[in-house]
Homo-oligomer: 395 residues x 2
C-alpha cells in the first residue's frame, strides 16, 4: 500500500484544530503505508478547486509549534456542499490519486464526509471531530471545547475578580455558541477554580423571560454589587427566536445581509435602562476560540490523538466513520479514541441536557462540573482568595 492522504478543515478554527493536523502528519510521517500527505487550502473549497498543499517534511519541533498555534494553518471555509459538489470532489481525488480523505469539522462537515464516503469505495473517508460548541453526537465531548471552556471559565473568574474589587457595575460576558450552551455553562466552572465567578448563566436552551431576569438581577444587586452574568450569543426569547443575532432584530445592510448582533450589549443596556444599575458588556468573541495561553493540555493531547487515530483507522480500511472520544475515567481523567458511524453524527446537534443546567437558579449543576472540569486540563491557576481581605472583617 502506498497511500495518498488529503486533509481538509471545515468551519471555524479552534485553538487545537492544528493539533489534530499535527497528529495526522506525525502519524503519516511515521507510517510506511503513506506515500504523501496533502492539505486542502481553505477547506472544501480548496478541494473543489484542486488547490492542494504539500504537507510533507515538517520537523518534530515544527509539528509541536503547529499544534500550539490557533487558527488553521491550511485554512478553512463555511462552504455548504451543493448538489453535484460530491462528484467534483471525486474528480479531484481521482486526479491526485487520493486514497484517504480526512475531514476535520463539526456537524456540517460530518454530513459532507458521509456523503463522500457513500459515493466512493476507492477513498477511505474519516471525520475528525472539531468544535468549541461541543455539540457533536456520539462522543463524550469534542476537541476544541476544553480549550475554549478553559478560556471562558478563567475569563469569567477574572472579570468577577475585577468587578468584585471595583463594585460599581454588573458585567455581562458574552460567550460563543448559537444553539448549544456547553461553552456558556463553562463560565460556571470559575467557582471550582477560585472563590468567585458568574452569578447567572444564560444558555440558548432556556427561554429568556425578561421580567424574571430583571427581577433576579435587582435581587442580586441588592445583596451584592459588582457581579458577572454569562450569556450565550444565541440566547433565545419566548418565541424560540434569538433575542439578538444575525437573524435577529438588528436589521439588514444595503445588500440584504443581516447586520451583526450583540446580545451582551443588548442586555447591558436593558439592565441599565430598566433598573438604573450601571452595566457594561464584555464580548471576547473570537479571542475565546484562539487563545494559545489558555489552551487546555488535555484538549490539545486529545486533538492530536483523534487526528492520528483517524489516519491509522483509514489506513486499516475504515471508512464512513468519525473518530469519537470515550471517557474511561473522570478522576483521574482518561479517554480513548474510537470510531462511530458518520450517519449517527451527521447533522445531529447535541444540546446541553437538562441535568446539566437549572433554569430556576440560572446555574449549572454538579453533574455538569463533573463532566466539564477535567477537560480544562491540569495546571489551573491558584488565585488569591477574594474573601481573605475584601469580604473579611476589618483590621
Amino acid at each position: 500500500m502506498s497511500a495518498r492522504v488529503l486533509v481538509a478543515h471545515g468551519g471555524g478554527p479552534t485553538p487545537v484544530i492544528n493539533a489534530s493536523l499535527a497528529g495526522v502528519l506525525s502519524a503519516a510521517y511515521g507510517d510506511s503505508r503513506v506515500e504523501r500527505v496533502y492539505g486542502a487550502r481553505k477547506g472544501i473549497e480548496g478541494v473543489l478547486k484542486g488547490d492542494l498543499l504539500d504537507l510533507s517534511g515538517l520537523s518534530e519541533n515544527e509539528l509541536e509549534c503547529l499544534s500550539r498555534t490557533p487558527g488553521s494553518a491550511i485554512g478553512s471555509c463555511r462552504h455548504k456542499i451543493r448538489e453535484g459538489d460530491e462528484h467534483q470532489l471525486l474528480e479531484v481525488f481521482d486526479s491526485y490519486g487520493i486514497d484517504v480523505f480526512l475531514y476535520t469539522g463539526g456537524n456540517d462537515s460530518m454530513d459532507t464526509c458521509m456523503r463522500v464516503a457513500r459515493l466512493s469505495d476507492k477513498v477511505q473517508v474519516i471525520g475528525i471531530p472539531k468544535t468549541i460548541d461541543n455539540d457533536l453526537a456520539e462522543t463524550d465531548h469534542c476537541p476544541g471545547f476544553g480549550s475554549a471552556a478553559r478560556f471562558f471559565a478563567l475569563s469569567a473568574l477574572e472579570v468577577a475578580l475585577d468587578v468584585e474589587a471595583l463594585d460599581i457595575h454588573v458585567s455581562v460576558v458574552e460567550v460563543l455558541g448559537r444553539n448549544a450552551g456547553w461553552l456558556t455553562a463553562a463560565c460556571d466552572l470559575a467557582h471550582s477554580v477560585g472563590d468567585v465567578g458568574p452569578e447567572m448563566i444564560l444558555v440558548p436552551e432556556m427561554s429568556f423571560d425578561q421580567e424574571a431576569f430583571l427581577e433576579s438581577i435587582r435581587d442580586r444587586w441588592n445583596r451584592r454589587r459588582g457581579f458577572v452574568v454569562a450569556v450565550s450569543e444565541g440566547l433565545k426569547g419566548g418565541d424560540g427566536q434569538p433575542l439578538v443575532s444575525d437573524q435577529g432584530k438588528t436589521g439588514v445592510d444595503a445588500f440584504g445581509h443581516p447586520l451583526p448582533g450583540n446580545v451582551s450589549h443588548h442586555l447591558a443596556q436593558l439592565i441599565q435602562q430598566k433598573l438604573g444599575i450601571r452595566t457594561r458588556s464584555e464580548k471576547p468573541g473570537l479571542v475565546g476560540r484562539a487563545s494559545r495561553a489558555l489552551t487546555s493540555e488535555v484538549d490539545r493531547d486529545e486533538a492530536w490523538k483523534v487526528g492520528a487515530y483517524g489516519l491509522r483507522s483509514a489506513l486499516d480500511g475504515a471508512t464512513g466513520h468519525m473518530v469519537s472520544l470515550r471517557r474511561e475515567s473522570s478522576r483521574p481523567y482518561r479517554s480513548v479514541p474510537q470510531l462511530v458511524e458518520l450517519e449517527r453524527v451527521a447533522n445531529v446537534e447535541r444540546l446541553l441536557p437538562s441535568e446539566f443546567y437549572d433554569p430556576e437558579s440560572f446555574r449549572t449543576t454538579e453533574a455538569y462540573t463533573e463532566f466539564a472540569l477535567p477537560l480544562l486540563g491540569s495546571g489551573l491557576p491558584d488565585y488569591f482568595s477574594v474573601g481573605r481581605f475584601l469580604n473579611g472583617k476589618g483590621g
Copy 2:
C-alpha cells in the same frame, strides 16, 4: 521609628496592582521600622469610613500568589475626592496612628496624594503608579500597561490567525482606553511576534474620518479578505467627541445616566451597512485588564518593585512624590525606580506622541515598537507561520 503604614487602591484594577501590594507587604514584613500594615477596604472610601484591614502575616507563598492574582485584593473605588474629604482622611490617619500612606492609582489618585501630602507633615505620602492606560507623566511607562499590552498584542495576533484561516469577515477588536491610545497601539506589536496582526489601528488621538476609513477598509478587503482592525473604545470624531461612548450617541437611561456604548459594534455595523463586507466585533473589555495567563513578567516585577520602593522611600522620609520608572536600557531591557514630585504628575494625562503613530497608514511606528515590545516580557510564544501553507504555493 515604629511606623504604621496604610495602603489604598484607586480606580480600575490591573493584572499587577496586587503585585505592587505584595511588594509593599514584602518590604514591610522585612523592615524593622514597620510596626503594622493596614489596607483600606475598597479604596479611598474605605479610608474615609475608617474601614481598614490588617494586612499582616501573609507567607511568602501567599505574597507570590497575591502578586499573580488580577483584580484588587483589598478593593478599589472611583471616588473623586471632595472639599473636606482631606480633613476626614487626616482624622482617620490620626485615630489609627498612620505614619505612611501609600496610594496606588492613576492621575486622579495622584491628585489626591498630592493634596493629602500638602495638608499633613506628620504622614509621609507616596504615590504608586498603576494604569493599563499608560498615561501617567514623568515615568517611562506605568505598571499594568505591559500586561494589558501583552494581552491585546497576542489577542490581536490570534484573532488575525483565526480570520486569515476562515477569511469570511473583517473583525473589529475594541481596546480599553478612553483618551490615550497606548494600549490600542499595542495590538500592532502582533506583527513583531508572529507573521500576522491588525491591518489598522485607530487611536483616540486621531480624528476619525468615516469616508477615509471606509475607503481604506474597501481597499484592504479587495487585496485580502479576513483582517483585523483594532479600535480604541474612546475613538473620537472630527468634533473631538467620542464617536460612541458613555457620553456618546446612545442616549440615557430612565435615571438620566448615559447608556454604555460599544464602538467596535458601531464600526462593524458601519462597515457592513456601507460596504456590504461581513464584519464582526470582539470586545474583550475587562478580560483584557484581568488576564493572569497573559501577565507580563517584566510588568509584574516592576509593579512589585515600585511598591517596595515606595514604602522604603516613605520610611526614609520622602513625601509628596510618586514612584516612577526610568528605563536604563531597551536591549536587554532594564529599568530602575525613582521618585518624581507629585505635582508634576497629578492630573497630567500623557497621550500617545505623534512619533509613535502614523495616521496616514493607520499604523504605529518603529519607535513605538522599540518602546513597547520589551514591556511585554520574555517568553513570547512562537506561532507557526501563516505563510508556510496558507499563503504559499500549492503542492
